[in-house]
Symmetry: C2
């Protein structure tokens, strides 16, 4: 029951891009330095974000990346679902292909469906903008300093 580094890093990339958005393009090298994650690994992740239309990228000197949409329109759930493949907490809920023969008599399935709904609802309600603008939570919470 874990979001992988790919999902976590993808969010950090999006937040970093939102924070340093001045209309231009941010090169990956800067994100890599700020986030302390190797450029090579970030490359594979941001390429995915680019292909899915979350990020616009420009090659060559002076190039880089920027958010393709306003941060208010990019939800945490959509980013995670993209790079993680799915957010379903059990394989039984992944599309139709994993539909189990026992589903219509399964006593645990309704609980999994509700868990799935709750997770999707929360992650769909938080945007990249929300993550950037949360001074209140960030400073003075129980894990700061």
């Amino acid at each position: 029951m874990k979001i992988s580094t790919k999902g976590r890093y993808a969010l950090r990339i999006m937040v970093d891009l939102a924070q340093h958005d001045n209309g231009g393009y941010t090169p990956l090298k800067e994100i890599s330095e700020r986030q302390e994650i190797s450029m090579k690994y970030l490359e594979t992740i941001i390429s995915h974000l680019n292909k899915a239309g979350f990020v616009e990228s420009v090659r060559g000197k002076g190039g880089g990346h920027r958010l393709a949409k306003p941060a208010q329109e990019l939800t945490v759930g959509s980013v995670l679902e993209l790079v993680e493949g799915t957010l379903a907490p059990v394989s039984c809920l992944e599309g139709d292909r994993n539909h189990c023969d026992r589903a219509n008599t399964c006593y645990t399935l309704p609980m999994w469906q509700e868990l799935n709904r709750i997770i999707a609802e929360y992650l769909g309600s938080v945007t990249i903008y929300d993550l950037v603008h949360q001074q209140d939570q960030l400073i003075g919470n129980d894990y700061s300093i």
Copy 2:
């Protein structure tokens, strides 16, 4: 972001034990046949449940397993946390050992904490008894038949 078969099967074992609880002990062979899961695999899972005090087991002929507590007192969350090790959606939240240097300036951590809280709250609110007594959901829901 997946609960493994171990977690799912552990819940099915607990539900099966609750459904067939007549005061005596249910042998694993019966559970295996009803749930269509190999006895060998169930053995390793139920042994875990037994050591943690969720299930009482008796060896030898006529032996078997039964719930160690009333189903109302056994939450889905506690069972899953036991066999899965943790329910935290990101490794950053696992105890103190994975505490990250960046935690006090991490813009995604509060979101992960809230997600963690929501998941724990829901799974802690559903009991094995609830899973067994849910005819309304089970019959007539959109995945039955």
